[in-house]
């Protein structure tokens, strides 16, 4: 298994290389002088020259590119322009919170989305189907910051069930869970929408397939026909959707963190933007892109587990 993962990683190397190159170019081929953007146009030429040296902008582009690649390969994301701290350390400090939030959303999404989609398809046009449509429409319609704000107003400001500001660095696991609840629901709603949708349409298709007719001709009760024969086949598109929308999820996790004032990549991004910390921004782009590339590999591997055709074709 580990060897497979290693091989698959090897195959992802060209993509990774292209992604990193794109990040490098994006930050460097900006119109205008980056030192002016960072320091403002009142800065003295000396300060600008100093910054230029710190950024390595005085070297030829190719040399910069080489250094950038070597650094990344060593797991070094450079130093922040503002705080001069190593970016990898800053990222490492907040990454667990973002991962925790994303995983919680994924969990909520599949736990609610899959059964909801199955039952909706089974009783087409029934009450559950109607409910599933509403839920998925809501999940697709709310921008994460809008739903976050509305949740915050309803449950934290008005009802006071949850804290307005998430206190995450507490040792009390219950308290930590309480702080996670609203953000996770906010993010989870999006995933519920996607998962419900793909499960529902996948089940509708699966239930009209020949193999479902075979299962019924075998005299299996509809419970087994639906949950064993049909659902197994729907897991493949479900996994695809989860993999595909992980990017959407990460983007929305950032927003959720901002709204709920949780530590995480979101806050880091906002502060980088506000302080025009291009080094930090570059580092964060590398991290999120790596996360997506890695998630794609994970999706591919999961295919092999849910679909025997992939593994033994």
């Amino acid at each position: 298994m580990l060897r497979f993962i290693a091989k698959r990683l090897l195959l992802a190397l060209p993509t990774l290389w292209a992604v990193l190159t794109l990040v490098f170019l994006l930050v460097r081929v900006v119109p205008g002088d980056p030192t002016i953007i960072v320091l403002g146009d009142q800065a003295s030429p000396a300060a600008r020259e100093q910054l230029r040296q710190r950024l390595g902008l005085d070297k030829p582009l190719l040399v910069q590119y080489g250094e950038f690649m070597v650094q990344i390969a060593q797991g070094d994301l450079g130093r922040s322009l503002v705080t001069n701290r190593p970016i990898s350390a800053d990222v490492a400090a907040v990454l667990p919170y973002t991962i925790e939030l994303t995983l919680a959303a994924l969990f909520i999404g599949s736990l609610i989305g899959v059964p909801l989609g199955v039952v909706a398809a089974q009783r087409r046009d029934g009450f559950v189907d109607w409910l599933a449509r509403i839920v998925s429409l809501a999940g697709l319609s709310f921008p994460a910051f809008v739903s976050g704000i509305l949740l915050l107003i309803a449950f934290a400001v008005e009802l006071r069930w949850f804290p307005v500001i998430s206190t995450v660095n507490t040792s009390d696991p219950l308290e930590r869970l309480r702080a996670l609840a609203l953000p996770a629901i906010n993010l989870g709603l999006i995933m519920v929408a996607y998962v419900t949708r793909v499960t529902r349409s996948g089940m509708l298709k699966a239930l009209s397939e020949d193999y479902v007719r075979t299962a019924r001709a075998k005299g299996l009760p509809s419970r087994l026909v639906v949950w064993r024969h049909a659902l197994r086949n729907v897991l493949i598109p479900v996994v695809t959707v989860i993999g595909l929308y992980l990017g959407v999820l990460i983007g929305n996790a950032v927003l959720t963190e901002i709204v709920f004032n949780r530590p995480g990549l979101g806050k880091l991004i906002v502060s980088a933007l506000n302080q025009r910390d291009y080094a930090l921004l570059q580092g964060l782009m590398v991290v999120t892109a790596l996360a997506i590339v890695f998630a794609n590999i994970l999706t591919d591997l999961t295919y092999g587990l849910v679909d025997p055709r992939v593994k033994t074709a």
Binding site: F145, G251, V254
Partner: protein, 291 residues
């Protein structure tokens, strides 16, 4: 299904009239279309229907809750929130529409070329698409605007760039499916040129899916625009944008929640409308959708 299909010869295929019938039968599409048209009218008629100048400040009337004069209340500068929400629809709808149209146009053409020619052209385009899709769409948009600077044009550019790879994928996938059909081979056997085949035979047949995606993407584009504005990367103030109003409201969340609620509801209405339209179109054009 197969039993019914076996008896109902000749098979009923995707026909324009039956698609329309199915579309009108689904109430969602009708509701969605009405809402979209209403929103578009509001945006177009903003100068005539908004009760106040959206930028007129009134120091005395700061953070007033909703009242008969100010239906949606006022903001921290005493500006009328209703007027700002009405004017804000212009930016959101304009940016969303232009960016989506550009994304559809560019993405569809590249996608068809990629799927139709296959081989090395396809490999390169697919690889480039994969790389672009390796960045979370929102973060990509965010960084592009941050780097390029928050102007109307750059916003549109950034959102278009995030939309293009999505449409390349859809168009390429549909084109590959079309290529499996014999009529494309028939066209080649008849000596038709590649351009004729791609744009007169492939394109009309994949537009159903592209249009469905387009309406859903319009929602996504508007969402991205308002999100960027919320983060502070929208069209710069004092221009009213929905995301911007919410951002200002967010700072006064505890004492003036209406400030964020009303523009949020506006965004929500557009999102729901466009999603209803997208779903309705999908149901109407997908021949597999059971009635």
């Amino acid at each position: 299904m197969s039993a019914a299909a076996a008896v109902a010869a000749p098979p009923v295929a995707i026909a324009a009239p039956s698609a329309w019938k199915r579309a009108t039968r689904s109430g969602g599409l009708a509701i969605g279309l009405v809402l979209v048209v209403a929103m578009a009218l509001i945006a177009l008629l903003a100068p005539w229907i908004s009760p106040y100048d959206p930028d007129a400040q009134d120091v005395i009337m700061k953070l007033e809750p909703p009242s008969a004069e100010h239906w949606f209340g006022t903001d921290a500068f005493g500006r009328d929130v209703l007027s700002r929400v009405i004017w804000g629809s212009r930016v959101s709808l304009f940016v969303g529409t232009v960016a989506t149209l550009a994304g559809v146009l560019i993405g569809t053409i590249i996608g068809i070329i990629s799927g139709y020619y296959g081989g090395i052209v396809d490999k390169l385009i697919t690889a480039a698409t994969d790389v672009l899709l390796s960045f979370p769409q929102l973060i990509m948009g965010l960084i592009l605007v941050a780097v390029l600077g928050p102007t109307l044009f750059n916003l549109i550019l950034a959102i278009t760039i995030t939309a293009v790879p999505a449409f390349i994928r859809v168009a390429r996938g549909s084109t590959l499916a079309m290529k499996e059909r014999d009529f494309i081979d028939a066209c080649r056997a008849l000596g038709f040129g590649d351009l004729r085949i791609m744009f007169l035979h492939v394109m009309p047949n994949i537009m159903d899916e592209v249009v469905v995606m387009g309406s859903l993407w319009l929602a996504a584009a508007i969402r991205t625009e308002s999100t960027l504005a919320f983060i502070g990367l929208g069209v710069p103030p004092p221009t009213a944008t929905w995301g911007g109003i919410i951002r200002e409201g967010f700072d006064n969340l505890l004492d003036a929640p209406w400030l964020s609620v009303f523009p949020s509801l506006a965004i929500l209405a557009v999102m729901i409308a466009l999603n209803l339209v997208g779903d309705g179109l999908r149901d109407a054009t997908d021949p597999r959708t059971p009635q």
